[in-house]
Symmetry: C2
Subunit: 639 residues, 2 copies
């Protein structure tokens, strides 16, 4: 993306695959905007023969799937929340901190920034985002701009109203609220009011991550009593990828359902890459600031300092990052607890902090300086994602002493952050066999005051690299059912390499289905609407409806067409699995038709007594046709 071609920057229709981003509606879906806040959703229209209204589904894809939107990734998205933020009157404009070469990993030969500046090479050939704002927002002195602060003062913000409408979309279709699930003590309401959202945020049981400098974001909530959310990870590494790929992956990930995206870049051009991403993202963006801080000291963990870290927090806060992963629980006394582990410390941030602590023989500066970090968070409304630096990276290490020691510290820090009305979520494992998953949820609820839990899987076995989206999809579905609020995806490339865009899609769809399976099991009152609509379409051979209602209509149709591509097959009452004679759904329909022709309601068609009386008569009818049947009525006598 050295020089961005404006035509490419305006997006590529969904059928294209040139550099740029994928635009255009998802097959079968129509973008709608609901209510005075014009909350974005999708409507799936069904065939008239179904007699069913359109099904509305939650939508994370942003303006990219809106055919009326003008997409220009060089300009970024519209600032949806701008007026709401300013109307609160508690922010001021400040000059943005100047971007330095080391922010983009540019260091001179002696690894100093000045050497890089002298060499005149800003950023190794990558174009900075062309429309960087010269001023950014920050809380006025003494103000706290976090949604939790407003919520605790009884204020219902437009963001909370947006969330309520978004979370309600399915419920409006229900005529009655029946509950069929096991939520393990969650408090999922029949109907989500803005007041309910306010109360959940005030309690800390939900967060609405949205930095005042990310006005492009469509507000969303992460919390046990809302729909289970998923996160996709993007970002380059020193070995692979570039800015164009990362923006493309962002848009691709949200197209398929990612509720938030983390930019985990660890390579070059971290600052500029992030700017392109945030400006073009309708979903909250998370980061792990320690990565960029490490780049600034040339990769030498021991050289990290509080000042560099603090400066990095400001840099990223001004760009608009919505949540920071902070590994403040990797405390010096805990590090030796990992000595006997099979896979030690698998978290990048955790291992960096562990190295720093041991090298300096000092307590973690993230822990020591936590209250100062909190002051920064509240000036921009950035949420904490308290990192699980000591999470288990193998089945052998699951639920060990190191892991839970850190969890207890995260609980302590949650309450410290809440004293300042700063939003918090808690990161979780990892690799955990199924029988140990619930313990994680129970402990986290107990220790962290019901702050939202945000797990990575967990993977339920180590033996299937190449399939870790599945080994972890199992654990994710289960821990989502038990109460986890957001599930961080895992792609097929986990443990093996950096994911490409196909891997991103596979990871996202896998985690969407896991999150939905959790919603169903929790008894979310509206979750089942989509399953039922799809199953009715399946039963009635409305193939297009079945595809359009599914999480990935393109793949569903493609798989069907591999063996039955003809257009006529889309209304055929069979598929290639069984063919026309054996299709059980077709036969079931014949059974129902037959029963109906007998002019009896199928339900009462064969009451036990009637059956015995009638069977002999009916058998006689058949015998008259000359067919020989060895059939007994009730097993007692033969005709």
């Amino acid at each position: 993306m050295a020089d961005i071609d404006p035509q490419i920057a305006r997006g590529t229709p969904a059928s294209g695959s040139t550099p740029g981003v994928t635009t255009g509606p998802i097959r079968g879906s129509r973008k709608i905007h609901v209510g005075p806040l014009k909350v974005a959703m999708r409507a799936i229209d069904l065939e008239p023969s179904s007699g069913e209204p359109p099904l509305n589904v939650y939508d994370t894809s942003g303006p990219y799937t809106d055919p009326t939107a003008r997409i220009d990734i060089m300009s970024g998205l519209p600032e949806l929340r701008r007026d709401w933020i300013r109307a609160r009157g508690d922010v001021e404009e400040v000059a943005q901190r100047e971007v330095r070469p080391e922010d983009n990993g540019q260091l001179g030969p002696d690894r100093s920034a000045s050497a890089a500046a002298r060499s005149g090479n800003r950023n190794g050939g990558v174009q900075p985002f062309p429309n960087v704002r010269r001023t950014v927002l920050r809380a006025r002195a003494g103000a706290n701009v976090s949604q939790m602060h407003y919520a605790r003062r009884g204020i219902i913000t437009p963001e909370m109203e947006y969330v309520a409408t978004r979370e309600n979309l399915g419920r409006e279709m229900l005529r009655e609220y029946t509950r069929d699930g096991e939520s393990f003590g969650a408090a999922i309401p029949d109907y989500v009011t803005p007041e309910f959202v306010r109360d959940e945020v005030a309690r800390g049981r939900a967060i609405i991550p949205n930095n005042v400098n990310h006005p492009e974001s469509e507000p969303m909530a992460i919390g046990r009593n809302f729909l289970v959310k998923i996160n996709a990870n993007i970002g380059n590494s020193a070995v692979a990828s570039n800015v164009a790929s990362e923006v493309d992956k962002l848009v691709w990930a949200i197209r398929w359902g990612a509720d938030t995206v983390m930019d985990l870049s660890t390579g070059r051009n971290i600052h500029d890459t992030r700017e392109w991403i945030i400006r073009n993202s309708p979903v909250p963006i998370g980061t792990v600031p320690i990565y960029q801080a490490l780049e600034k000291v040339g990769g030498i963990a021991e050289d990290l300092t509080w000042d560099i870290f603090r400066d990095t927090l400001i840099e990223q806060a001004e760009q608009g990052v919505d949540y920071f992963t902070i590994h403040a629980g990797v405390r010096l006394p805990y590090i030796p607890m990992t000595a006997k582990r099979v896979t030690g410390i698998v978290s990048r941030g955790g291992s960096i902090m562990a190295k720093w602590c041991l090298a300096h023989h000092k307590e973690s500066f993230l822990y020591e300086r936590f209250d100062e970090i909190t002051e920064i968070m509240k000036a921009y409304d950035i949420a904490y994602s308290l990192g699980d630096g000591l999470r288990p990276g193998s089945i052998a290490d699951a639920n060990d002493e190191a892991q839970f020691a850190e969890l207890y510290t995260l609980g302590e820090l949650t309450h410290r952050a809440w004293k300042e009305d700063v939003q918090v979520m808690i990161e979780g494992p990892g690799h955990v066999p199924m029988h140990k998953i619930k313990e994680n949820m129970d402990k986290q609820l107990q220790v962290c005051g019901e702050a939202p839990f945000y797990t990575l899987g967990p993977l339920t076995t180590d033996i299937a690299p190449g399939y870790d989206h599945i080994t972890s999809g199992i654990g994710a579905a289960m821990i989502g059912w038990f109460g986890t609020a957001m599930l961080c995806y895992v792609t097929p490339k986990e443990h093996l390499g950096l994911p490409d865009r196909d891997d991103v899609k596979t990871g996202v769809v896998t985690y969407k289905l896991a999150a939905h399976a959790a919603d169903l099991a929790k008894g979310h009152p509206a979750a089942k609407l989509r399953d039922d609509a799809l199953s009715r379409a399946r039963f009635e051979f409305r193939w297009r409806d079945q595809f359009n209602l599914s999480l990935d209509p393109d793949t569903a149709e493609q798989y069907h067409d591999q063996t039955l591509p003809a257009e006529g097959a889309k209304t055929a009452h069979f598929c290639s699995m069984c063919g026309p004679k054996f299709c059980s759904m077709k036969i079931t329909q014949e059974v129902r038709d037959f029963a109906a022709k007998q002019n009896a309601p199928v339900e009462t068609f064969v009451a036990a007594e009637e059956a015995e009386a009638g069977m002999a008569g009916m058998s006689k009818l058949y015998n008259e046709s000359g067919r020989e049947l060895y059939m007994g009525a009730g097993g007692r006598e033969h005709d």
Copy 2:
């Protein structure tokens, strides 16, 4: 496969993809044969630097992965069990029933067999298996050749000994038997003795499916107290596939781990296809005889008769089918219970029987004639797989009245079969949301006397066609944990079309990882050995070992090489996910090396008091180097 080229029939090395079957070792594995019965397994050799012995793993791939075996699919596999069967002296040779055109779906224009014979077209161009035996075995008059019969008479057969060795393979590596799991009351032993196998089979809690006419099979057990097993489905349909593809899929499926295979063909050449499959299968083969019976009556369910069905049972029994799915629980009074369902009856066999029952207004002949079916089963040692014809095919229908009514009947039939010492397993659902899964297991255990449970998934949501191997992998892992003995795979093509060989592999590996996750969670004493070995290899950057220990070494290596293909990368201490600076595993090793250099055991490196005393001194060291550090010891004072 109209004329089989003998060279192709001898197999194709694993790198090939020409018509034929895939042979050659699985990457990194070495075939071994253990004990006096030469039980087949695989050994995975690890790099010398690991200091670890080879890891033995359970192996279903048969002689195809044995480089010393001579493969000739025109001759079939060696008759492993031949002498054991004959030595029992309770079988006699009989002339095989003659194959008729209608056995291969050949009917004349008036749908009669004679017309087909007159037309001289035996089987539409497919070559019958060239080495069909002219005589087959059957129990002598009055004898019962089922493994359950022997077990109940206190006899330990060679089959039971084989099973014990196979199930023990990992346990021999354990120095101690620690249990870490939750088995919900299962009785998994520390060590599997042949006596334990006998007892489980005698109780009906496990089955060893092996027809006396399938002597090529390597004995295996299906039961809650053994390793969780998986089944793969193959078979053509009227719309797709051919014999060559099906034999190839068989060998491909067992290569990747299928413990049994069901031939669900519903198209042409059912008899000949099955002969090719059984003669070349080292794993038990299951079928659903009603499919072939339906083909014989030209697809008209109402024309099915007991005689045709019985004849089909004999035909298939003589070929060597090891278990039959019999939908004897689809009883006439239950059919109306499906009327209100969203997806009616989704089982092919179930819908066929429902159609028959309603058309004739009679009780199912499978139910009425059950005892006569049992007489056939015991003459060949064929196990019942009591079919779940009324299983739910959508989330909406899960755990409904029809489903459990059938389950109660299956319980009744289990006890009737056991009266005759005939082996039984029970088929299960289907589509079940997570919160309803355990109820299925609990009811089945209660009602069916702990007969092994054999479920299809279950799928935990309906909304992801194209990904149903995953929606069902979640449910399968969970129900396997709860006690299900065998999991029937689901491929990405479920609901959309017939699976190809890639789909077969994806389905098999998905179900292998789900079964293994279940073994881990149940606390199988040896399951964790493989996870631990792989995680150690991962941590030590023994990339080749990591790939070789995984369920799919080819894919793991391929994914790694997509971004780091160079040979040197196979020993590199990073991959493209994070690159050299950020690899947490590399950093963890550095942390351990650093701690070791301090000449202190890492475990006691920083005891709390020592830390406080030592920190000030260490900080002083760093300060002397001139670096400015705002670091506090314990957060209280700055140097």
